[in-house]
Amino acid sequence: MLRQISHIYPESRIKKSVLTILMGIMSVGGKKRMMEMNENTPEKPEGQKEEKSSLMEKIQQLGQTNVPQLSQDSKIHCLTIVGQIEGHVQLPPHNKTTKYEHLIPQLVAIEQNPKIEGLMVILNTVGGDVEAGLAISEMISSLSKPTVSIVLGGGHSIGVPIAVSCDYSFIAESATMTIHPIRLTGLVIGVPQTFEYLDKMQERVINFVTTHSNIKEDVFKELMFAKGNLTRDIGTNVVGVDAVESGLINEVGGLGVAMKKLNELIDLKKEQNEGIIQ
C-alpha cells in the first residue's frame, strides 16, 4: 500500500510527510482493530477453565469447596468453638485450637456493632484451658444481645460452661458432653495447697454452670464424680437427651430450631426495647 502511494506521489518531500501521516492513521487503525478483536474474542471458556481448575485445586488441597454467595450482611453472627480452647500457652501445632485472643475481640465487635442482633455459638470442643474457657463463657453470658448455643458432636470439659453461658442452649441428639473433675496436667507438686487450688478452680466451673443453667449443684457434682461411667476416669458422659433431663441444656435440637429460637429471642428483645421507648 505504501509503495503504491509513493508511486503516485513521486516528490520526496510530499511523500515523506504524507507517509508519516498515513502511517500514523494506519497504526491508530491497527490498534483499534486489535482492541476490537480482543473484545470480540470469546474469553469465557478460558475463564471457566481457570475457575474449574482453581476449584479442583481447592478440593484437592483441603477437601472443601465454596457455597453460593449471599449478598446482604447477616444480622446473626456465628462463633465456632472447635478443638482445644487455648489459653496462656500455645499448644503444639498439630492441635486444632480455638484461641482466646481471637474470640474476645470478636465478641467485643459483636457487642458494639448495632447491625448485629444475635449470636449463635456452635460448639464441638474437647475442652482446654480453664481460665480461657471461663473467660469466654463470662464474655458470652454478659453480651446484651440474644445468644443461642448448639453442641454438635461434643462439648466436653470446659466446653460445658461455654454451652450453658448462652441465653438458650441446644444439643444435637447424638452429641455428648463429658463432665469430669479438673485435674492437673504436667508437673504436679504434691502439697495440700495444690489440691486446694484445684478445688477452687473446680468450684469456679461448678458455680458458673449452676448459675447459668437449670442444673442443681448436687446433681452436677454427682455427674462429675460418678464412678464406672468413664473407662479410666471418674465423671459422666451425658448424651443429648440426658443433658436436657439433668437440666444442663435447655433443649435437644439442631441448627433449624436453634436459628428459630434465636430469631424469637431477637424479636422479643426488639419488642421490649420498643416498650421502653414508648
Binding site: 485445586e57 481447592k58 488441597q61 483441603l62 472443601q64 469447596t65 465454596n66 457455597v67 453460593p68 454467595q69 449471599l70 446482604q72 450482611d73 447477616s74 446473626i76 453472627h77 456465628c78 462463633l79 482445644q84 489459653g87 496462656h88 500457652v89 499448644l91 503444639p92 501445632p93 498439630h94 492441635n95 481471637h102 470478636q106 465487635a109 459483636i110 449470636l119 474437647v126 475442652g127 482446654g128 484451658d129 480453664v130 481460665e131 474457657g133 461434643g154 466436653h156 470439659s157 470446659i158 463429658t178 479438673i182 492437673l184 496436667t185 504436667g186 484445684l198 478452680m201 466451673v205
Partner: protein, 72 residues
Amino acid sequence: MILYTMMPQDLVFPPEEERQQSTGQMMMNYKGVPVLAEQVDAMNYQIIRVMSTDPSHYLNTDCAPGTKISFS
C-alpha cells in the same frame, strides 16, 4: 496453666521427637476478612481457616480455605 480437656496429656503434648517444626501460620486480614494463613513460599500464603464471626464471610469465594494469596 490447667487444661480441662478430654484429650490425654500425651496427645495434646506429643513426645519431643514427634513434635513438628512451627508451621508458619499467621493471622491476617485479607479483603476485610480475618483469616489464618500458612506460608507456602516466600511470596505466597494459603488460607487455612476463616476466623470471622460473620457467616457471609464464609460464603466469600475470594477467601475460602485453600485459596492462595500472593504478595508480588
